[in-house]
Symmetry: D2
Subunit: 364 residues, 4 copies
């Protein structure tokens, strides 16, 4: 969702457009350099990848099947294609990244599966709405696509979070309908840190079958892990990944990134920093005249409703952030005439001085 | 082609299994580190990518349309899907990488197009064989798939090279049948260096419409460029790449790799080193008892026929290389009873001492 | 939409489940028999097909490109795959047959295109809703699927009809966004008759680019015509149809069916009969206690809201019709507690005595 | 294979171009007319279809899962898509109909699976060649497509027949490699009659998992049955057929055709007539000057090598048959300078006087 607010090219650039705009954490850069020494087996049969897989097993406190890829869209689309068949439905929030921002990648990888968007405030699906939607796709009714997979985003496109029990309730409904559960964890680390729960509790213990575990937005160069908690569902994945062109020949560099990302809790530390900066930014923005909140700021994304004219001034002064058209806002909160909803994203690299400058600018 | 010869785990590992086993050239590693500083626009709208595109235009002496991706299979399959429609044939050598080693990626990306393998000695297609094949797919005959694209590998899977005039002859046949021409240049640099011709002469001036220009095997971490010489054929590519999950969010790191790869002729220097090591290795191997040549060693791959028992000893001593089943060898050269064809690959990192050790081992 | 109301197996069967349940009009059966004599060219190159194509040109008062197939789902999915590319959106009513009742056929044939459902009362899309939806898929924004095709059902899934000027308004919006317009005319004849307009006015003169012109529901054995009004959009169709397995070998029997269907206005006569029976049935049903209308009865489908208990009695007495869950009903009209929406369909074969019997049953 | 020999438009038309050119057997036409009376459940839930399924169970002496469709390409492509996954290989003769004459339908339906053609004289695959091919696709080697299905044509494209023990030997090789076995029985009846074996012996008892059982070429209007002998392999078929647009709404007419086709051995009688006419035609043609045999005439197709000039005269006189380019002829039998291979096909409708006239013409 969301089109780019006209990028200003002012003196200072206050970058809050996306956590994709950040660089690579130094520890990960070093790991890449170190991994470059000597020869290594290709296509993910190397020692770096094996150690990364082991580290993921430890993080999730269980034996997983892990496949590393370079992009989030690749991770999501491949995971969904392992869970849903071409004549099945993939249920997701109507503004989910997989539905709106991947140019049809899930449909492509899943051979023409149908993405079924479910509305919900603040980017979240409610159990009742999922139940009602599942009812519209009865198993065995040949004329409709069949229930296949549910994809939950954690954090959501609105930067909000599902509580563990909310995930469990949705997953339970899904499983009872024979539907597998995928979690799009492009900002998984931010969610884990914000909720203070264990990765295991937030995934397989709550019923998640497969996770796209993102590292790129949170400090990696390009590394995402598709984590299967049910090994049977992973059986076809090596072929899916290969024919998708997502099996890196020098796979060791994916392994090395993930190894460094998970080592000594780096991933949590980086996410904690991004989340904290979001809170500071939100405090500052909401103190500005005419700026008011939308849904709660829970991870590293700040959504505020601001007077359109003022926000355009900020853009002209060099700030970069998005206007954010959405149907995910309660009517009572909808932007009024002269107002717009905006998204600001912080990352592990967002500097205190940029927060300060942005908040000062917002007061103008 | 080719199954892995049992990997030995001896004291010293003499690695000639693939140029995929090499690390990253230091200049490229440095460029990655440097690019990590500061924020950058995502998805390839950054300055690094722009400079890489400019550098590619200079290398090819023409205005191109360039798209950077992380894998060779991604580059090939996406390029072919831009050139051929789902009900068309993609012609290639019967042992081409796109046909045999990408788990059906071209078929997947091209929506079910049919790969039609053409036999030919030493991995090369002869014009007469292409002409005869084209005849079997007449345009407008609805029951057969239609002629769509021709994919030429340069260097070929057999490590051999098409001469510029050979490319031109094949491209001319293709174009006269309304067939677009793709070049799989996973080892494009090795070919340029070996033939001593300009990249422009070897591609668009000879009739190539789109090139997969590989950097990964020759010193990059993970970077391939899909280069279109006809901008009209590139129009759908942004969507194809996005829905294939091949648009990297931190695209600047693809740009930075390619910028460094092309700067001051680094790419040619690295390839020259790999090629030279291949010649030395070939000399040494062919001096060994019972070892005899197959097709000419032209780039950085060495194919020799050796007594099976002896070669197994080398493997047991720690050498790593592949046995290479092929139908691309003239009958007169076929391995005899007790012989096998083997492939050794050198890279820009292959050390002189490894060549020496391998050649010494071969004498045993 | 709609699950089968428990089929009763009573003495008499009052069949209003679908116009698919009818047989074949005698004139068409005779044409099939006649066409069986002698040899004929295969795959649609026969004289019957040529005459059918000519008859269609006359019906539409223009030169068309016509392709005959045996099923409505085949016609729709193939037509849409000729109009939309795999990374594009196909816009339709959220309860359109192509979206809900074809098990993902359009997605399959269009290589993973995304069907985007637009809500609207009585099965119809309003121009404002189309405009708002088109806004969400801006051309050139790579991350979203691109605007591809609009599919309008005439008559709609709710049995209602677009007026010619409504079609023109929607088609105009679509064309201005570069979107092609398809009409699902499974019940095209019923719409033509009901509106009393010419086929040309209702299609190409109003901006329709391709039409699925159904004959099966209205008296054919199995025959649908995909009619292109813009020959350029038809160029790939022969290949699409062939590789979809929809090119009948004894194509003359499709031609013969259509020839007979169009001859002397048979198609209009059959549809007029079906429409008239629907009006009679509606009159009778709405006279029954507790039965009330939903949207207008415009073609050959009757939707009424009835007390659930009473309707179940009708089913037990041998009547066959569907309960019809929908989101296409104005809130003010929604079935109340103890009520259900039901669909009854009439065909050219529906007998007066069945109407009478059904209406008598409804009084019970 | 084969391009149409210039169709002559002479006085008399001696039609031997294809068994697709025939009409419908009177018994089947009558059954269609009879089935048209009254209402029937749609989409194959009718009584005619149930009886056809029962008749097929009797013909095959086992409980089968049957799905009726209208085209042979639909039957083949759907069956193969149920047996092979998108990243798998479908092995077939290199000139099989599924490979050469269906415009990529199997690739389309199977989501991009790769058809791997195996050469063989007279249209038949030899066990050694299958074994060698299977060796090139080892299970678990991720870079190559995986072994998926074997498709055998019976009768073959060359009109020849596999003996039961030949089928069993090929099926055994396939099954040991985990490969399912499909039989393309577009001319199944001709094969059963010619070999004098039971349908059960020629299929499931010999290891066939799924059969495309054709009726269209042998007297039906448009009817083919996909017969699964292993019910587990049929589980996804209802969805595959529906989203392929191959589920006829008035399914009763497929049921009625098959019921009549199988009743009282009509199918065998029709095939016996076609086969007998082929033998007579072969005798006559081979008596003509300069005409010589290719492979044995076993079913209803006659392949002869004739002087090109003479054959063109026959065409000019109104005979219709195909020239037949092939790689399936032993070198020793290849047409010499001035000769061409031609195909003549007979059907249940081929009249004695046409045979006589054709043979007389051949003497000219």
């Amino acid at each position: 969702m969301g089109r780019y607010a006209t990028a200003a090219r002012g003196r200072t650039e206050l970058f809050f457009a996306s956590d994709n705009g950040a660089g690579v954490a130094p520890q990960i850069l070093e790991a890449i350099s170190a991994a470059s020494r000597g020869v290594a087996a290709a296509y993910g049969s190397d020692e770096y990848t094996k150690r990364a897989e082991q580290a993921l097993n430890e993080v999730f406190e269980t034996e997983t099947k892990v496949f590393l890829v370079a992009t989030g869209t690749g991770a999501n689309a491949l995971a969904l294609s392992a869970l849903a068949r071409p004549w099945e439905a993939i249920f997701c929030h109507e503004e989910a990244h997989v539905h709106d921002d991947e140019c049809g990648a899930p449909e492509f990888f899943a051979g023409g599966a149908k993405l079924v968007g479910i509305p919900g405030l603040g980017g979240k699906i409610l159990p009742d709405d999922l139940a009602e939607t599942l009812d519209r796709y009865p198993r065995g009714l040949v004329k409709t696509v069949q229930p296949g997979a549910l994809s939950l985003s954690q954090a959501t496109e609105a930067g909000t979070l599902y509580r563990v029990e909310e995930i469990a309730a949705l997953a339970d409904l899904a499983h009872r309908a024979g539907v597998s559960v995928h979690m799009d964890g492009a900002r998984f680390a931010n969610a884990v840190v914000a909720l203070g729960v264990s990765p295991a509790d937030m995934t397989w213990r709550a019923g998640v079958d497969a996770l796209s575990f993102g590292a790129t937005k949170n400090g990696a160069l390009a590394a995402e892990a598709v984590v299967f908690f049910d090994p049977k569902k992973a059986e076809t994945f090596p072929y899916l990944r290969k024919r998708g062109g997502h099996t890196l020949s020098k796979g060791r560099f994916l392994g090395a990134q993930f190894e460094a990302y998970l080592k000594d809790g780096l991933w949590l530390e980086l996410a904690a920093r991004a989340n904290a900066q979001a809170q500071k930014l939100a405090d500052g923005l909401l103190a500005a005249p005419g700026v008011r909140p939308s849904w709660p700021i829970e991870a590293n994304e700040v959504f505020v409703i601001a007077p359109t004219g003022r926000a355009e001034r900020w853009l002209n002064e060099g700030a970069r952030f998005y206007e954010w058209p959405t149907r995910s806002l309660a009517n009572s909160l909808s932007p009024r005439e002269g107002e717009t909803l905006y998204r600001f994203v912080t990352s592990f690299e967002t500097r205190d001085e940029d927060i300060t400058a942005m908040c000062a600018l917002a007061m103008k």
